[in-house]
Symmetry: C2
């Protein structure tokens, strides 16, 4: 049966062929560059895609939150997990120690206060922890500035015997904020250069730095051209989305995840309502295109507004034959938070529903 | 123990005293106006708040989706449910018929095509269904125009013997799009007037119209002043939020739901990161105030940006003593989609955690 008849809507449908191609491509790229691939779990939050990433050569996985790490650890797919975020507070430190019983963990750190919490927890548990210093290469989110890296590393070496500084990381998310490919390249290379310089400085001061890690799908094929970068952490590449494909190198045909939605109202010739609103698509904008998603069957129709359970479509004349009950496929603006809104992904092969994948880390923001 | 020490973050905390006051106030208002109160389930999605609404005098409940209706029906709290949305497609019609075995249902309709689907399903099941015509009073989302109501009603009466037209509804959400209270009032009254006129016209043509239903929390105390409106469907009032309190009549002290978050990084004197990002707060804007939420302890600090698991705070000098590990309370811009991102609400009474409420309809967008 055609999956569109089998599935009730809205439903998040993953097209296996596209997914496999995307996963393989990044695995091949990392191998060709001699880089370690540690993809981000946050995009898909499923054991099944994680397994495909492992088969493509991934040496471990990256998580945004401890709760994500607990979810993927429980599957046994990866036993080497990097939490690319600060672990702060007594409750989380307890959970961190418990999780270390199951898997190899490494954790980001960007402050002496944060490091001290880790140190105290490790000392109490009689354990040691590999830490990765988070570096702000221009995004201005978390992370220490490049010239502060050595100071933080030395504080940990001097005062925190249970922490091992093994590397540095950055999230060069700022590189993807431009629509200009030359600017994307320049910003990515700048981030890579800053990272390699910081790693060299640490090595000159006696630190054994084995990991110089960069992340962000839009910059994935750019930052990694800098000699000395050792690890990449792309996330969105498995599904791609309406924000990513603005870069011109990928199009809708590379987007593996589409939301199947139903037209529920046709109150005016140029207006249609679908049953996917902000509780499915999220209100995130796309930088390259107006509207809240790309409609595969009607690329010229725009999702002009969302309420919680309604998507409002503005229809050009060419789309005005759209009918109540018709199903359409939507590529979301940002696939990661969309996946986080659902419990299941529906895998389609050759137009048929073949598997249902639980989103095991949905809502695991703790 | 102080709930802030007991809870890991981010956590959605409901303050019982404020919630009870909000619920009671709307119940009292509806009673004072002689209106039937049919509050919206979508805001809280919990059996517990639904029960409080029933105790406050609610005669039934409103749901946005069939999946929400199934969830609240299963609790037994309400046996009278209005799905204020179009039910389109074979899968949903099957579920609708099944749900009618459990509870009294009424359903919105805004097209002959949609009505025909309901008619066919009811005829096949040998049942009849109460339908409410959705009217577009200016929001321009779903719904027929006021002068199309009679035509749709007559089509159903003539051709669809298993459907009973018992009322009309509108969602005057457009009224809340202004920051001006006089404009809010004028738009609300206009919507109410259109509804009452449409109901009168139906009655003149022999329809027994018992329900003239309006909805939207910002307009709740305005539209209901129109003589002839019989039912109100407010939702957000139970928790209130950073979009609602722009109207001046309510402030942060009336917001029952706050997100407890932890400061995780302090990379610059004027910048802090918290562990609540778009996967907790959503990227919805507030119309009256910049930023992605109102920080109770630091009202002058702004949440200037969100990534999925980070909130980026811009700190004025008065807030620069904020420390890593500190916990803050955030009133979200729009509470309904925030609740939809979590599995549990934490009920606090006198500063202590007293109950955990499952969000039983989280993600029920089908």
């Amino acid at each position: 049966m055609d999956y569109r008849d089998e599935l009730d809507t809205p439903a998040l449908v993953v097209h296996e062929e596209i997914l496999k191609r995307n996963v393989q491509q990044m695995g091949d790229y990392a191998r060709s560059k001699g880089l370690q691939l540690r993809p981000h779990f946050k995009t898909h939050k499923t054991a099944e895609v994680a397994r495909m990433q492992k088969e493509s050569g991934a040496i471990g996985i990256t998580c945004a939150k401890l709760g994500e790490a607990e979810a993927i650890a429980a599957t046994g797919v990866f036993d080497d997990i990097f939490i690319a975020n600060q672990i702060i507070g007594a409750k989380k430190l307890e959970r961190l120690v418990a999780l270390m019983e199951q898997v190899n963990l490494r954790v980001a750190v960007d402050s002496a206060e944060g490091a001290q919490g880790l140190q105290d927890a490790m000392a109490a548990a009689d354990r040691s922890l590999d830490v990765i210093i988070e570096v702000n290469t221009g995004q201005n989110r978390a992370g220490v500035l490049p010239d502060e890296v050595l100071g933080l590393a030395e504080t940990m070496r001097a005062e925190m015997p249970n922490l091992n500084v093994i590397g540095i990381m950055t999230h060069e998310g700022h590189a993807g904020k431009t629509l200009d490919n030359a600017e994307l390249r320049a910003t990515s290379l700048d981030a890579g250069d800053k990272m390699v310089a910081a790693a060299e400085q640490l090595r000159e001061h006696g630190f054994e730095i084995t990991t110089v890690s960069v992340g962000s799908t839009p910059a994935a094929f750019e930052t990694t051209n800098v000699e000395g970068v050792t690890e990449m952490r792309p996330g969105t590449y498995v599904f791609q989305d309406n924000t990513i494909f603005r870069f011109g190198s990928i199009g809708p045909e590379d987007c593996a995840l589409r939301i199947l939605a139903t037209v529920t109202s046709r109150p005016a010739p140029d207006r249609a309502l679908i049953d996917a609103g902000s509780k499915v698509l999220t209100t995130e904008p796309s930088q390259w295109r107006d509207g809240y998603g790309y409609i595969v069957e009607y690329p010229d129709a725009e999702i002009v507004s969302l309420s919680e359970e309604h998507g409002w479509l503005q229809l050009p004349e060419s789309a005005q034959h759209m009918k109540i009950g018709e199903k359409v496929q939507i590529i979301p603006n940002h696939v990661c938070p969309t996946v986080n809104l659902t419990d299941e992904l529906y895998l389609v092969r050759d137009g048929e529903l073949v598997e249902i994948w639980p989103v095991i880390a949905r809502g695991r923001s703790r």
